[in-house]
Structure formats: structure tokens, C-alpha cells
């Protein structure tokens, strides 16, 4: 027998760590550059009297360090810090988003499996699924909150439903594409084994769809956070980040840094969701490197 070497050396743990460290360093450099650009624009804009597209001053473009510093200051005199509040708002909105993400993901996934098995359903249902996403979420949100409210459903769950409304669509579309992705040869192979429909689904279509599912979940992860924040607005929920944004908006002219700080917290929450999906993908997906989206 002729010995054939593996064409690709296995990655070592050490190389993985080095790669990770390099990535973290790049992200930090990116943040530093952004910070620098922000402050540089401010510095020049203030001195040159820039008024377009907006006047550069402390209200429109607060110092980034001021946004972070306001987090450590009490919201009301003698009360807990803003960060303390933000933490609790983020937990509350995070809970809504997580439930919405799971609910939307499950619905999207189930819908994709249903559609993958019937061309007639695909033809009949797909247009409506697409139309569902063209309706502004701001118009749907009050209806969902009010409608579910009359059924005795807690408002935060109604917000989760709104988040799910944004989440299910990318999951359904991408999963469907993934389920239909196996090439004719792979399907022919299954046919040669006289495999049942279920076998083809579990042994071929579902595993083949996973890279598509994960790229959808990455979109949905951040979309569900946005959905939860937007959903809180018409529900008049005060316990989450959406409520806080509405509140701080009203006091923007006097305390702009609070709104900016809340925006940073919203971004961090979205990032945390995204990172969770990324980690799950790393743990679950075993694919040729070129097949991972």
C-alpha cells in the first residue's frame, strides 16, 4: 500500500489559541481606531464650526469617555448607578429576546421542514411569508401586545412574540435553502439505499442544512434583540432597554450621554447573542472550512 499523507495538517491547540489572541487584538485595535476617529472628528468639527450634517458639540457627539463615565454615576441622587439599572434592563430585554429567538427559531425551522417537503406548499405559502416581513414591525407590535393582552398573556411575552416575528423569517428562508441544498448525487445515493423520506431528512437534508441554519441564527440573534427593544415601545414596558431609550430620548437635550450609554448596552446585548450562536456553531459544525459561511 502506498502511504498517502493527509493533505491538511490538523490544527493544534496552540495554533488555535494564537489565532484567538490575534482576533481579540484586532477587535481591540478596531475599537481604538473608531474611538480615535470619533474624537478627531469632534476636535476638528468643533474648531472648524461644522454644522453639516449636524452641529458638532457635546449634545450631538458626546465624548466616548463621557458615555462610559455616566454609567458609573447614580441615576438619581443617592440611588444606584446607571450601570446597575442598565444591567437589569438588559437582563429583562435579554429574556424577552431569548424567548423570542427560541420561539422564532423553532417556528422558522418547522416551517422550513414543512416547505421542503411540498412544492405546492412552497408555491402557496412563500409569498405570504415574504409579505409578512414587509409589514412594518411598528404597526404589528401594538396589535400583538393588545391582542395577547386581552387573552391574559403577560406583556413581556407579547414582546417575545414580536421578537419571534423578526426571528423566524431568516431561519425559515435559510433552513429551507439548506434542506434543498444536497446535490443530485447525494440524493441518488440515498435512493440507491432505498432510504425512507425520514432517513433522507435526518441523515442528509438536516445535516446539510446546518451551515445555512447557523448563518440564519446569526442574523436572527441580533434581530431578536432589536425586536424586543422595539416591541417594548408600544407595550409601554418600562423594565427593559426599549423603555429606557424612550425615556432618555425625552431628556436628550439635558443628558445625551445616558441615551448613548444605553445604545452601547443594546449593542453589547446584541453582540452577546451573536457570540452565543457563534460559539454553538464552533462546537457543533464539523465542515470543510470552505463550507462554513
Amino acid at each position: 500500500m502506498a502511504a498517502i499523507a493527509i493533505e491538511q495538517p490538523r490544527r493544534t491547540r496552540g495554533a488555535d489559541t494564537a489565532r484567538g489572541a490575534k482576533r481579540v487584538a484586532l477587535v481591540l485595535v478596531g475599537l481604538a481606531v473608531f474611538w480615535g476617529l470619533w474624537e478627531a472628528y469632534r476636535w476638528i468639527g468643533e474648531r472648524a464650526g461644522v454644522t453639516w450634517p449636524f452641529t458638532v458639540d457635546d449634545t450631538n457627539m458626546p465624548h466616548i469617555h463621557e458615555m462610559l463615565r455616566v454609567l458609573t454615576k447614580p441615576l438619581q441622587p443617592g440611588g444606584p448607578t446607571l450601570l446597575h439599572y442598565e444591567w437589569h434592563w438588559a437582563l429583562f430585554t435579554g429574556k424577552e429576546a431569548l424567548v423570542g429567538f427560541l420561539l422564532g427559531g423553532a417556528i422558522g425551522f418547522a416551517l422550513a421542514i414543512l416547505l421542503a417537503h411540498s412544492r405546492i406548499l412552497r408555491r402557496g405559502l412563500l409569498p405570504y411569508i415574504v409579505i409578512s416581513q414587509t409589514v412594518p414591525i411598528l404597526a404589528i407590535a401594538p396589535m400583538v401586545v393588545l391582542g395577547l393582552g386581552t387573552k391574559g398573556v403577560e406583556p413581556w411575552i407579547a414582546v417575545s412574540v414580536i421578537a419571534a416575528y423578526l426571528t423566524f423569517f431568516p431561519v425559515a428562508m435559510n433552513t429551507l435553502r439548506g434542506l434543498l441544498s444536497p446535490d443530485p448525487r447525494s440524493l441518488e445515493l440515498m435512493r440507491s439505499y432505498a432510504a425512507s423520506r425520514n432517513d433522507v431528512l435526518w441523515k442528509l437534508r438536516l445535516p446539510a442544512s446546518l451551515p445555512f441554519v447557523f448563518s440564519a441564527l446569526k442574523i436572527s440573534a441580533t434581530a431578536s434583540v432589536i425586536g424586543a427593544i422595539i416591541g417594548e415601545t408600544p407595550a409601554s414596558i418600562q423594565d427593559g432597554l426599549g423603555g429606557a431609550i424612550v425615556n432618555f430620548n425625552q431628556y436628550y437635550s439635558t443628558a445625551p450621554t445616558r441615551l448613548w450609554a444605553t445604545n452601547i448596552v443594546c449593542a453589547a446585548l446584541g453582540l452577546a447573542f451573536f457570540a452565543a450562536v457563534l460559539i454553538a456553531e464552533r462546537l457543533i459544525l464539523r465542515r470543510a472550512p470552505e463550507n462554513i459561511a
Binding site: I6, E188, S192, Y193, K203, L204, L210
Partner: protein, 259 residues
């Protein structure tokens, strides 16, 4: 059932596609058990189509196909054949072992039985030590050996191979030819092998079925009386060249441009 029952029996078969193209016409062929039959012909002669009809992956327009004395459809449901395509068609998310075990999972073999069978097959195709690798970590030749092991896993009486080495370089191809003959001998199966390489067909086969195109039909059958087992030396024997010439002339007579 008698021992002389043909492995494959094709009677007055034809195949036309909806587009109006007649791919095959008037095909009669009987493959005896333990034979190694090659189907060779110019592209468009329907050799791959014929292989797929034997495997009940497509239906003939007319005529009958029996595999192991059963209609092709029944034979497919009974797992009477294994198939190897030009591409290895391995599932990316499965390791070498799990790819080989795929048909066994579908056949509901127990975990222990599967593991034992996979070990045998890894030895047969000489891939011990690679069981936990993923397909993309293997060379093309190794991938194709995994694909052959998978086709043999449930010990089918018939092996259908559609240009399995067509995408490989010449050196790998010659080595795998020898390995395939060894596997053929060890497994005791019948092989129907599609190729467009004349030397490959002559080297491997007990009979070479030469086809011609438009519409696809059998131009002639060449009995390959080279001694068994074939070795690297077989390709250097005068008889080998005579048979290669004979196949080439049949192809030319059938209207194929032979270079």
C-alpha cells in the same frame, strides 16, 4: 434458485427522455455472477444511463431489467447492489468511519455490528488510521476508497461503478485499479463498471461491452482472456495490446472518434 442465475439480465431495453432524445435502444445483456463487466463508449452513448437503470435510479422506457433474478426495483429495495459515482459523494459532516457506516445505519444494524464491519472495511480499502478524519482531509484517491468501502459495507452481490476513477490522476488510477481487483476477488461480488478509458476497461474486466452513440446501443462485446490475477505486468503483455486494439476498433466501427 440456481447458481447460474444471472447477476444482471437486460432484455430489449430502450430509454427515451422527455426531450425526445433516445439514449438507449435494443440493449440485451446478461452479466454472470462474479463477472467484472465494463461499459465503454463515447460520451452520449448512454453508458451511465444504463448503469442507473440497472440500479433503478431511472426507469427504462421499454424492456426489462432483472438483478439477482428480481425486477430492478425490488432489487434496489432489497439492497442488492452498492453504487460508486465519479465523485466520492461523501457526507462532509461524517467521519470516514461514519460515512462507511451510513448504509448500515439505514439498515438498522446495531452499533457493535457496525463498528466491527467498519474495521473490516477500513482494512480492506487500506485506510486504517484515517477512521476519524473528515472527507475534506483526504486526497481524492482516499475519498474514492471510502466510497468503495461504503458501497461494499452491506456486502451487496452487485457493485455498480460510474467512472469511479475518472477524476483521478493516472498514477492513482492505476494503483486503485489493482486495489479494486483485489477487493473484487476478496468480496466475491459482481461488478458493472462504466469507464471511458480503453486500457482501464481491458485491464479490469472479464468482458468489455463496447457501446456506440446516438442512439446508444451495444456495438460488440470483447472477451478479455488475460490470465487472473492481473498484475502490473498485465499491461505489458502483447495480448493486452491486442485486446486494447480490438476494443478501439469496435469503438471506431461504432462511429466513435478514437484518438
Amino acid at each position: 434458485m440456481s447458481a447460474t442465475r444471472p447477476a444482471v439480465s437486460i432484455k430489449s431495453l430502450s430509454k427515451s427522455f422527455k426531450t425526445g432524445v433516445t439514449a438507449l435502444t435494443g440493449i440485451d445483456l446478461e452479466v454472470r455472477p462474479r463477472e467484472f463487466i465494463s461499459l465503454i463508449g463515447p460520451s452520449g452513448c448512454g453508458k451511465s444511463t444504463l448503469l442507473r437503470i440497472i440500479g433503478d435510479l431511472i426507469e427504462p422506457s421499454e424492456g426489462t431489467v432483472e438483478v439477482n433474478g428480481k425486477p430492478a426495483h425490488r432489487a434496489r429495495l432489497d439492497h442488492d447492489y452498492g453504487i460508486v459515482f465519479q465523485e466520492a459523494v461523501l457526507y462532509d459532516w461524517r467521519t470516514v468511519s461514519k460515512n462507511i457506516a451510513l448504509p448500515l445505519e439505514l439498515l438498522k444494524w446495531s452499533r457493535d455490528k457496525r463498528a466491527a464491519r467498519v474495521r473490516e472495511l477500513l482494512e480492506l480499502v487500506e485506510l486504517e488510521g484515517f477512521e476519524d478524519n473528515h472527507p475534506w482531509q483526504l486526497s481524492g484517491g482516499m475519498q474514492q476508497r471510502v466510497s468503495i468501502a461504503r458501497a461494499l459495507s452491506f456486502d451487496p452481490a452487485l457493485l455498480l461503478m460510474d467512472e469511479p476513477f475518472g477524476a483521478l490522476d493516472e498514477m492513482t488510477r492505476e494503483r486503485l485499479n489493482l486495489e479494486l481487483l483485489r477487493i473484487w476477488d476478496a468480496s466475491g461480488s459482481t461488478i458493472v463498471f462504466v469507464t471511458h478509458s480503453i486500457p482501464e476497461a481491458v485491464f479490469l474486466s472479464t468482458r468489455v461491452v463496447v457501446m456506440s452513440a446516438r442512439p446508444g446501443r451495444i456495438a460488440g462485446i470483447v472477451d478479455v482472456d488475460l490470465p487472473q490475477p492481473r498484475t502490473g505486468r498485465t499491461r505489458e503483455e502483447p495480448r493486452f495490446f491486442e485486446l486494447v486494439t480490438q476494443v478501439r476498433e469496435l469503438l471506431a466501427a461504432g462511429g466513435a472518434e478514437v484518438t
